[in-house]
């Protein structure tokens, strides 16, 4: 997909003035947060499980080569085909070859961020194969020719009226007079329309929440059941998964599952957690005849061993964006590529380069709420700061910013000079305010005063006043600030 991250500021501004989007984003600020809180409060071991989940992923990443080999051996033993892809292009090509060999004209897809990352749909379409998204949210945005704005709630930026008008536009074989005013009616219609697609598809493509080395199993976690129908009904099932999805054992998957659904939707457990191991067995009445797994690197191996390795623990629960004030303000599309919110602000520069996505790690207040809720204890603000360091080293941030910062640092590193300069500037600024207490406008402070007043300095600096009072040998009680009534 097109990279629109460099236009973050413009996109954010447009998002802020989009009343419809702002109304939809209100749903994120309330639902997800309360539900997660309740689920977490109900499980006393939640924080211990986070530690356990983190330790599992850290161990796995430190031995990733060996677990990949173990996984491959078991998946192959179960009759699966394991393919390795270095790049997005390689992965697309592998999927296409499988589709071609299956004579596929239609493929159904379970919700998967990794196929968004490799932009699979556009590629397959260009090759004459019709991809059909089956997750309700993904289906809606596919109709709109959009991309997900949230990693677990892809259509969270939309309101039901928009969905209704899309359904009326696309499902034009259905009676025009039908009532679609309620979400339930929209869901029912999508269910009926997609039912036929599952059976028409030759290939079903899903992602994976986990790959289990012990058994060669892929696991998907869903609520709708579309992922299961996608991997069950077509003749060929293709799993696309990046290499960090590995966990050693079923127990390890269980540990992480306990924090996944609670962090994502506030459920104790998602409705469907499905373990798939190889193709249909002899005697099985259903199931795919072929089972393929595409193991994708696409930049992960270069994050290993770097200061961004911790990001590879991410299980894509979405809790970071659900709790992010910036995401709440601008929504997911403003981030301009596949992964939005705090996890996107760290991951995107790793995948497309910080030169194209420098705004993302900068557009954070470092409020730390993302890290506080991350089930995998990923230090997201710290890694955003690492990206800012990379940017700074490479001189990628704007010249005005660098100049201002350099000037400030020059003084901040020289206390006497700093004292001297501030003892002149602060009283002058205080005098400029002339008792109004705040500025509505001030040269060079336009970023601040565009939206709010700038409180003026009280009078002289604290250090000036303190020195005078101390020199006077006064007691603490007498050391009130100037202007105290």
């Amino acid at each position: 997909m097109d990279i629109r991250s460099p236009a973050f500021k413009q996109s954010a501004r447009a998002a802020l003035s989009d009343a419809q989007l702002q109304r939809a984003l209100g749903n994120v600020r309330t639902g997800f947060i309360d539900k997660r809180r309740q689920a977490v409060d109900a499980l006393p071991e939640f924080d211990a499980l986070r530690d356990s989940a983190k330790a599992i992923k850290d161990h796995t990443l430190a031995h990733l080569d060996l677990y990949l080999e173990a996984y491959e051996a078991k998946a192959t033993e179960a009759g699966g085909h394991v393919h390795w892809a270095e790049t997005a292009e390689d992965a697309r090509r592998i999927v296409l070859d499988i589709c071609r060999a299956a004579g596929a004209r239609t493929v159904t897809k379970g919700k998967s961020m990794i196929t968004e990352e490799i932009d699979l749909n556009a590629f397959l379409e260009a090759e004459g194969i019709r991809p059909v998204e089956t997750d309700l949210g993904e289906y809606i945005i596919q109709l709109r020719n959009e991309h997900p704005s949230h990693i677990i709630a892809p259509a969270v930026h939309l309101n039901k009226d928009q969905v209704e008008s899309d359904f009326r536009r696309v499902h034009d074989h259905l009676p025009a007079a039908r009532d679609l005013s309620e979400p339930a009616a929209l869901l029912g219609e999508a269910r009926r329309v997609l039912r036929s697609q599952y059976f028409a598809a030759d290939v079903g493509i899903t992602g994976a929440n986990f790959l289990v080395a012990e058994t060669g199993t892929s696991i998907i976690v869903t609520n709708e059941g579309n992922g299961d129908l996608t991997q069950l009904l077509p003749r060929v099932h293709v799993v696309v998964a990046s290499i960090e999805k590995l966990v050693p054992t079923l127990e390890d998957a269980s540990q992480i599952l306990r924090v996944l659904a609670r962090s994502a939707t506030g459920q104790d457990m998602s409705v469907y957690t499905t373990f798939s191991t190889g193709p249909r067995r002899p005697g099985d009445p259903d199931g795919p005849e072929e089972y393929h797994v595409v193991l994708l690197d696409n930049g992960r191996s270069s994050m290993l061993g770097s200061e961004f390795q911790d990001m590879l623990r991410c299980i894509r629960c979405g809790a970071c964006m659900n709790h992010c004030p910036v995401y709440h303000a601008v929504g997911g599309h403003a981030y301009g590529w596949v992964y939005p919110g705090p996890m996107g602000a760290v991951l995107t520069p790793s995948l497309i380069g910080v030169d194209k996505s420098g705004h993302l790690p900068n557009a954070s207040t470092f409020c730390g709420r993302c890290e506080a809720v991350c089930p995998m204890r990923i230090p997201l603000p710290k890694m955003m700061r690492h990206w800012r360091e990379r940017e700074f080293e490479r001189g990628l941030n704007p010249a005005a910013q660098r100049y201002g910062l350099g000037l400030w640092a020059f003084f901040a590193r020289r206390p006497r000079l700093y004292r001297f300069a501030t003892s002149l500037a602060v009283p002058a600024l205080a005098a400029m305010a002339r008792g109004r207490g705040a500025f509505r406008r001030l040269p060079l402070a336009g970023g601040w005063t565009r939206h709010r007043d700038l409180p003026a300095p009280e009078s002289r600096t604290f250090m000036q006043q303190w020195r005078d009072r101390s020199a006077g040998g006064e007691t603490a009680a007498a050391r009130g600030p100037e202007g105290l009534a």
Binding site: T365, P415, G437
Partner: protein, 257 residues
């Protein structure tokens, strides 16, 4: 505590650049509270800023230089106390990893162990359970992000505020959600910052309080500036001013005669 606190511990006050430049009242309130808590307070002259503007802009070299100077300036004090969760968090949590393992790192760690945010220091270290102040009215308290999430400051200010004669605390919705300040963030992304602070001032307004309190001047200047621009009649003060009974100055951004 591993520290052995003498009868009257010597506290070095890290004033913070914003308090130094914009609101000395907070510094004097901090001194008064610390003295009431039985400390001897000194203010090392060689301090400037904690270094966050550089640190959060990716400028590690300047940050390290500022950190070194700050650590040196506060050598020899029993405690280093700052009237800000954000700056105290910087000194305590972010200074040590700036240095490679070795002597400098050890020095930074020893320094970090002595650093505290003001209100949590009063309650957790000095065992303060109440103050002698009086302030009639209803206040609401905003939990600044760094203090809350890096240093676990939540109950301490509320406990001391509960002892202020005449004061009622009315909690706002989402008191723990960022106000949109974020240091340089608010000038780099003013429109997003504005959208965030608008939600905050709406929550403040809905709380029915006539006084907004918080423990960080950056957040307070942001919220006070927005309240003023919106014309919302809510005064903003640093929590230390009320706790110290030094609320005679005009509020943050308020007119002075």
């Amino acid at each position: 505590m591993t520290e052995t606190a003498p009868a009257a511990p010597r506290v070095g006050l890290f004033v913070t650049c914003l308090v130094d430049l914009f609101r000395p009242s907070v510094g004097f309130a901090a001194v008064k509270l610390l003295e009431e808590a039985g400390c001897t307070v000194e203010v090392p002259a060689a301090q400037t800023c904690c270094g966050q503007p550089a640190y959060n802009s990716g400028d590690r070299d300047d940050t390290r230089a500022i950190a070194e100077a700050t650590i040196a300036a506060f050598e020899g004090y029993d405690y280093v106390v700052a009237p800000s969760g954000s700056c105290a968090g910087m000194l305590k949590k972010h200074y040590p990893p700036l240095f490679e393992e070795g002597l400098q790192r050890q020095r930074a760690e020893a320094f970090a162990a002595r650093v505290h945010e003001l209100v949590s220091f009063l309650v957790d270290v000095r065992g303060m359970t109440g103050v002698a102040a009086r302030h009639a009215g209803t206040a609401t308290y905003h939990d600044s992000c760094s203090g809350l999430r890096e240093l676990g400051i939540r109950e301490q200010p509320r406990r001391l505020l509960a002892s202020v004669d005449g004061l009622t605390l009315s909690e706002m919705k989402d008191a723990d959600v960022c106000c949109g300040f974020g240091g340089t963030f608010c000038v780099k992304y003013p429109d997003i910052s504005n959208a965030i602070v608008e939600k905050k001032t709406a929550a403040i307004g809905a709380s029915g309080a006539e006084l907004l309190l918080a423990g960080d001047l950056g957040c307070l200047m942001n919220m006070a500036g927005k309240l003023r621009r919106e014309g919302t009649p809510v005064a903003a003060r640093h929590v230390a001013e009320v706790l110290a009974g030094m609320d005679g100055t005009p509020p943050i951004g308020g007119e002075r005669r």
